[in-house]
C-alpha cells in the first residue's frame, strides 16, 4: 500500500469516526454532520447555501470570504444523498489540505484569468496550486468515506477477526452498524 493510500485510509477512518454519522437520521442530518466537521476542521464559521446549478461539473464549491468565514455552495438536488456526496467532496478537499485558488496571488489569477498579461496579473495578484492529483485524491477520499458509511457488507479487514483487540472490535462493530442503519 502506498503512503498516499495509507494516508487516505487514515483520513477516511478519522472522518468516519468524527462524523459519527448514523444514517438512520437520514442523509439530511448526515449533511449537517459533514458541515459541522468542516467548521471544526477550518476552525471558522461555515455558511452553506443550496443553490440551483445548471452545470453538472460545478455541483459544489467552497470559498473563503474576506471576513474569515467560509461559504460552501451545493447544488440544490432533490436527493439528499447526492448533496451528501457533494459536501463530502468539499470536506475531502479540506482534509487533504488541497491549496485553494487564491485571488490574492499571481499564480492563482494566472490560472483563473489566463488571458490577462502577466504585468496586469502582478497588479491585481493571484496564486493556485490545485493539481489533477488533488482533485482525484479528494474524490477518492470522499468516495471512501461514503462507502464506509453506507456499505452494508462487512469490510474485509473486519471479517473473521474475532480476536481483535477490544478497541478495534468496537470500531469494527460501529462500522457494521453504519451498514445496517443505512436507509
Amino acid at each position: 500500500m502506498s503512503s498516499t493510500d495509507r494516508r487516505q485510509e487514515e483520513l477516511r477512518d478519522w472522518a468516519v469516526e468524527r462524523l459519527g454519522v448514523h444514517l438512520d437520521g437520514g442523509y439530511q442530518d448526515a449533511c449537517r454532520r459533514v458541515l459541522a466537521l468542516m467548521a471544526e476542521v477550518l476552525d471558522a464559521e461555515v455558511v452553506v447555501r443550496f443553490i440551483a446549478i445548471r452545470s453538472p461539473e460545478l455541483t459544489g464549491g467552497t470559498a473563503k470570504h474576506v471576513d474569515g468565514s467560509y461559504i460552501v455552495y451545493c447544488a440544490r438536488s432533490g436527493s439528499w444523498y447526492h448533496r451528501f456526496g457533494v459536501l463530502l467532496h468539499e470536506l475531502a478537499h479540506r482534509l487533504l489540505g488541497h491549496p485553494p485558488v487564491e485571488l490574492t496571488s499571481r499564480e492563482g489569477l494566472r490560472r483563473f484569468l489566463p488571458h490577462l498579461p502577466d504585468t496586469m496579473i502582478t497588479l491585481i495578484a493571484g496564486r493556485t496550486d490545485l493539481a489533477d492529483d488533488d482533485e482525484r485524491d479528494a474524490e477518492e477520499l470522499a468516495d471512501s468515506i461514503l462507502e464506509r458509511l453506507t456499505d452494508p457488507a462487512p469490510h474485509p479487514r473486519q471479517a473473521g477477526l474475532a480476536d481483535l483487540p477490544a478497541h478495534l472490535q468496537r470500531v469494527a462493530d460501529a462500522l457494521e452498524d453504519y451498514g445496517r442503519e443505512a436507509p
Binding site: 487514515e10 471558522a44 467552497t62 470559498a63
Partner: protein, 259 residues
C-alpha cells in the same frame, strides 16, 4: 524565454505599404489620397516621415484611417492582430476602455489610481514621454460630440500603466482591438465579481483545469459563488466550536489547534 523585440511603428507601416494584403504596394501619395477620400487628413510627406521612423507618434485617428485604407486592424501598428474584422474605429471605445481600467486594475494595497497617480507614474517612467492629469481626464470624458484622439505614445504609456504593455506581446493592442479587449474585459469582470463578493480564495471541482475553462464555465463558477454569497437568507450556518475547543483529535498529519 525572452520575447522578440517589438517592431517599430515605422517598420510595420513601411512593410504594410510595400506589401499590403491583396494588392500592389502603396506610394505615399496614393495612400495619403485614399486617407483623404475616406475623410482623414494626412500628407505624403508625413507618411514618409512615419515610414522612416523620423516621426513615431501619430494620433489614434491617423492610425484608424491608415488601417482602414490598408484594410488591416489598427492593432497591427502596436504588434497586435493584422486581420481586419469589419469596422474598426477604436477611438469610439477608447474612453470606455480607459474608464474600465481605472475602475478595475489597481494594486489591492493601493486602491484605484486617480488620473494624477497615473500621470505621475507614466511621466516618471519616461518610457513614452509625459502626460498630464488633465489630459487623462479629457481622454476619460471627452467634450460632448467629440472622440478622444490620443497620440500613440499616450496610448502606450496608459497601456503600460495598467499592465497591458509587455515587450513583444500584443496586449498593448487592448485599446486598438475590440475583440482582444472583450476577452480581457470578460476576465476582469469575473475577477471583479469575486473580489466584490469578498472571495479571497476558492476550491471547486475542475479548478485544476481553470486555465482551460471556457469563458462560460468560468462565468458559471463566478455566478455560483456570488449567488451563494449574495443570497439574503442563510440556510445553514456552522460555527467552529467555542473558545475552549481543542482539536485534540485533528485529522491525521495535522497538529491540533486551540482556539
Amino acid at each position: 524565454m525572452s520575447r522578440a523585440p517589438q517592431r517599430s511603428l515605422g517598420e510595420i507601416l513601411d512593410e504594410l505599404c510595400l506589401r499590403p494584403p491583396g494588392r500592389d504596394a502603396y506610394s505615399n501619395t496614393e495612400l495619403a489620397k485614399l486617407v483623404r477620400d475616406l475623410g482623414g487628413s494626412i500628407t505624403p510627406g508625413y507618411l514618409s516621415l512615419l515610414r522612416t521612423s523620423v516621426r513615431d507618434n501619430p494620433t489614434l485617428e491617423v492610425l484608424e484611417y491608415l488601417a482602414a485604407v490598408i484594410d488591416v486592424s489598427p492593432a497591427v501598428f502596436v504588434g497586435g492582430r493584422c486581420e481586419r474584422r469589419g469596422d474598426e474605429w477604436p477611438r469610439r471605445t477608447f474612453s470606455k476602455k480607459l474608464s474600465r481600467l481605472f475602475a478595475v486594475v489597481y494594486p489591492a494595497e493601493h486602491g484605484p489610481w486617480t488620473p494624477e497617480d497615473a500621470a505621475a507614474a507614466i511621466t516618471a517612467r519616461a518610457t513614452y514621454g509625459p502626460i498630464s492629469p488633465s489630459y487623462i481626464r479629457e481622454l476619460l470624458a471627452p467634450p460632448a460630440g467629440t472622440l478622444p484622439n490620443p497620440r500613440l505614445k499616450h496610448v502606450l504609456g496608459l497601456a503600460e500603466q495598467f499592465g497591458l504593455s509587455q515587450d513583444g506581446s500584443p496586449h498593448a493592442a487592448y485599446f486598438l482591438d475590440d475583440d482582444l479587449a472583450a476577452v480581457i474585459d470578460a476576465e476582469l469582470a469575473d475577477f471583479v465579481a469575486l473580489r466584490s463578493a469578498g472571495v479571497v480564495e476558492f476550491v471547486t471541482r475542475l479548478a485544476q483545469h481553470a486555465t482551460a475553462w471556457r469563458p462560460e464555465l468560468r462565468q458559471q463558477v463566478v455566478q455560483a459563488f456570488t449567488q451563494a454569497i449574495d443570497r439574503g437568507e442563510t440556510d445553514w450556518v456552522f460555527r467552529a466550536p467555542g473558545e475552549r475547543r481543542r482539536l485534540h483529535d485533528p485529522p491525521p498529519g495535522r497538529k491540533g489547534t486551540e482556539t
